[in-house]
Subunit: 210 residues, 2 copies
């Protein structure tokens, strides 16, 4: 039992690594098994197809990322500071990935969304749910920021959540293309603009990341 | 001569269609030739490899898009209005693609950037140049908007150009994932925020797209 569950974990780890580095289509089951160091027969014991594996990789990655987002965004204190922590954590993830792999690997969800949206309906649906959940989490923080008078009264919290998620994805794309995690530095400054935070509320500390 | 040049065009057209719909790795030379209706021998007469073909597809797509961007952004009149026209044209491209293919195909450059940045150095470099050229074009308009007092004096034109390009890519990603070109509707409103355009300068007409 210990051995088989270990093999499943190794397959998941190898698949995540390979999908992040080279996408979904470029990777075959044989290469995943070789990288994981497990026989190909084991693969089909755990997963019925490469797509089923990809869905599990997505779910496990989201479980970990969601826990991080919830822990940061549902905390106490200044809601804008929580958003800033999220951006710093996101940049740190890309920086750590770069230190490990030598290159910025980007966002697994964004990578797969662009590669597979029109080819794998089940994956598209799962990714839609994940992006909606991200938008929900940010929307809640924006509502808190509005209630506290920190964000502009005219800001539509739902739409702002969507714009911030889009900005994260766009900036991660530039970070991957340029192999430069600092492309994410500006998420904080852009968010101050998108949330119409008055200039006088943008503290010296807040300006540090700009 | 007429026949061979026709075959080259057919290969380019088929490759662009297939790359847009399913990415680079999922598509082989044989499928490109079948779709183009040309014998495989012709392929290697015109292109030394799939990557060489992809670079030509990228260059031709950028030549057309750059002409459109220059025509819109280097026009006369209100610089903010020119940006808005660019967003409307971008949404129209996605809408037309959806009408043709049944699905939003997204941005060829963004798709390939996420799929290939860490696998094909020559493609990465070409895409870096294209995104920098897009940022240059938008930066110039932002500088004009600042000079005309339409954008906030504190706005860094270069960084604003980069943020607007990131926002376009992020919104196109959502449009592709949700198969919904209206995800690009908010580019205009977000740009008013990113450029710190004063509320009183956001005309009733400007608000129409919000």
């Amino acid at each position: 039992m210990g051995r088989t569950s270990d093999a499943r974990d190794k397959i998941l780890e190898a698949a995540k690594l390979l999908f992040e580095q080279r996408g979904y289509s470029a990777i075959g089951v044989a290469e995943i098994c070789t990288t994981a160091g497990v026989p190909k027969g084991s693969f089909y014991y755990f997963f019925e197809s490469k797509q089923a594996l990809a869905l599990t990789v997505i779910d496990e990655h989201w479980a970990a990322q969601q826990a991080q987002w919830v822990s940061i965004l549902r905390g106490e204190g200044d809601p804008l500071r929580r958003l800033r922590e999220l951006f710093e954590a996101t940049e740190e993830v890309q920086r750590a990935g770069q230190a490990r792999a030598g290159v910025v690997v980007g966002c697994l969800f964004g990578n797969l969304a662009l590669e597979l949206s029109n080819q794998a309906e089940e994956i598209r649906k799962r990714l839609q749910e994940i992006f909606e959940a991200q938008i929900d989490l940010i929307e809640q923080v924006v509502l808190e920021a509005k209630a506290a008078g920190l964000a502009g009264a005219a800001v539509d919290a739902r739409e702002a959540g969507r714009s911030i998620v889009a900005q994260i994805e766009g900036r991660v794309l530039l970070a991957k293309l340029l192999n430069d995690p600092r492309q994410l530095d500006s998420l904080w400054r852009d968010t101050l603009d998108l949330l119409q935070v008055p200039q006088q509320s943008r503290s010296a500390d807040a300006g540090r990341a700009c």
